[in-house]
Structure formats: C-alpha cells, structure tokens
Symmetry: C2
Subunit: 205 residues, 2 copies
Amino acid sequence: MSLDGFVAGPHQSENNPLGIGGMRLHEWIFPLAAWRASNGSDGGEINSSNAVVEESVANIGATVMGRNMFGGHPGPWNAGEPWNGWWGINPPFHHPVFVLTHHAREPLVLEGGTTFTFVTEGIEAALDRARKAAGGRDVSLGGGANTARQYLAVNLVDEMEINLVPVLLGSGERLFDGLGDDLHGLELVRTVSAPRVTHFKFTRR
Amino acid sequence: MSLDGFVAGPHQSENNPLGIGGMRLHEWIFPLAAWRASNGSDGGEINSSNAVVEESVANIGATVMGRNMFGGHPGPWNAGEPWNGWWGINPPFHHPVFVLTHHAREPLVLEGGTTFTFVTEGIEAALDRARKAAGGRDVSLGGGANTARQYLAVNLVDEMEINLVPVLLGSGERLFDGLGDDLHGLELVRTVSAPRVTHFKFTRR
C-alpha cells in the first residue's frame, strides 16, 4: 500500500494490471533473497523483509482472489479464447485457487499444481471451498482491494499484512475505502521496518 | 495519520477540533516521558517515540499554521469577542506563530512568549516572516492538512514526519489528497517503530 492508501494505481488494464504507478508498490520485493528463492534463483538482498516474505508464503494450502485480480475483461468469459490469468502455464501458486466471479466457468487446471476454480456463490462459499482444499493449512486472500474489503467487512480475515511503501500514487484503488472507522477486529501485533517498505502485521483480537 | 490516510476525523467543530475520532491519532503521545516533560511533568513511558518527539520540538524558532488549525469560525473575525486559539492564555508554543488567513487582524500577544501574527499575503510571505522571526532556528509547519498540502505542492517542505497510527478513521481530512503521485522532492530517510505508532521521517533530496 502507498502512503496515501492505494494498493493499485489508476487505469488498470490488461496491459497495465496494477494501474499506472502500481508497480512502485512491489519493487521492494524483487531484489530480496527470499523472493529470488521462491522463483528458483540464488543470491539476492538480505534484510528484514526476507522473514516477512517467507512467513507470508509458508503453510498456504489455497488462495482466494477476486475476478479483477485474476484479470482479463469484465462480464461473461470470452467463449472462444477465455482469459487464463496473468501467470502463464505454470503459475506461482502451486495449490488450488478460488476465483470469485459472477460468471460460471469450468475449472482451469494448469501446470505445477495450480488449479483455478470459479466460484459464483459468494465470498463465504469461496472461503469454505478454499478451507477444505487447503487441508488444514492456511488460506491466502490474494486480493484485490475490493475482495479484501468484502472479507474484512464481515470479519473473515484472521491476519492482515500491510506492506507500506513510502510513495504517493495520488489515485487508484484504495484498500480501505468504505470500511468505516474500525479494522473489524484486527489489531497491530508486529511492525518490521526495512529499507524500502514497512510491514504491519495485524491479527484478530 | 491513520492507516487510511486521514489526519483529522470528519465534522471538525469548535467542540471537536480534531473531528470525530481524530483524537485517536494523538493518543500515542500522551503517556510518553518526552511529552510529559514538555508540559512540566515527571515520569511517563520510555520507548522509541521519545527521541522522535524530542527531535520534533528541538530548535524550533517559529511556527506557521492555517486558519483552520488556529480554529474558531470561518470568515471574518468576530469583532466583539475574537477567537484566540485553542490553547488558553499560555499556549505551548513559546515562540512566534504565523497564522494564514484571508482576514486581517492585529497580532495577539499571549503569555509565555507565544504571539499569533495573522498573515493575509499567502504562504510564502508567512514562511518569510516566520524564518526571520526564528532567527536561524527552524520553522515548524503546524498544519492542518490543507496548509501542509499547500507548502508541499510548491516544494517548500524540507522535512516531514509522518506519525502513522494503525487505525482507520474512514472519513475526514486526508493529508495527501490532491498532491498527485509524488512527494515533491521528499524521500524517506528514517523509520522508527514504537508500540502505538510508526514514525516516518522524510527529507529533501
């Protein structure tokens, strides 16, 4: 998240999925040893962000994400050449992913253990299915902002990590817009300062 | 500033100068030894916020603030019983304060070395006068958000300290609204994590 509260820039599109300037919120992670290791590369920077990144991907058995994060186009799926996500034939999840959508679709099985299952029955149904698929491990809420807000609003988020980057985006998608003046049961339990980002971890009281 | 970017809550008024919930952004400071000492009291909590508070008040020779922070009512000053600020007869500044206003008024001399001078010639004139009055010491930009934004937008801020409190206000006055997607020459140089607040210090590149 930027200092002014945005988790994506304006004008998100197929060519610019994070919106204008949105990549500035992610640049802190790419030089890290933990990030490089998760992509099969050696080396990289060692700083206090590494442990946070390692924790964020440990013990995840399934992911839930919104249609906007899965990407493509709004509305019904293109029948001839359906959008199959941003991540190519071997996405980095390597576990079941549940995509919230209003438009039913057969599951999409890709390489490396990633399957995308399209859920039209709402956020609680998607979470139930993700929990079962995770087999006792944690469910990651991938995003985007709209999906995160929906789960926050009904107190279904147990842990939240805000990676705050000291830049302004000026416009775009705000994580907390419309949530009101409380964190829905979450409270800050840990702050980690790193050179390009500060990590705030919240857990349920 | 709240996690969602507000520096004051909604519905600011004479009875509620920080807006609804705005006091939640300031509660971190009151238990601190450094805060108590600045008010002539002993004791208090010792944590990493103390040095930040001490630094923020050291070497200040003058303050600039907006009319909204000085408070009272909008429009021309009430001739019979003019508003004299929130701080009583011995305000905590103890140095010259320059108040930006569209409505001329004689200076207000209070106890303890605090004088309020009302400047109608704009932000650069107010800063010039504050610099001269500070006699080589620093000029503090007191706020509020609108005044801070005006100085930020013309690159007249040399240092900025954001005290980020992990709460949501949901609505109110956003510090950075309308500033666009850059920090106008400021960059993060220091982060301090404390139990109830994280301090981000920016300086001019």
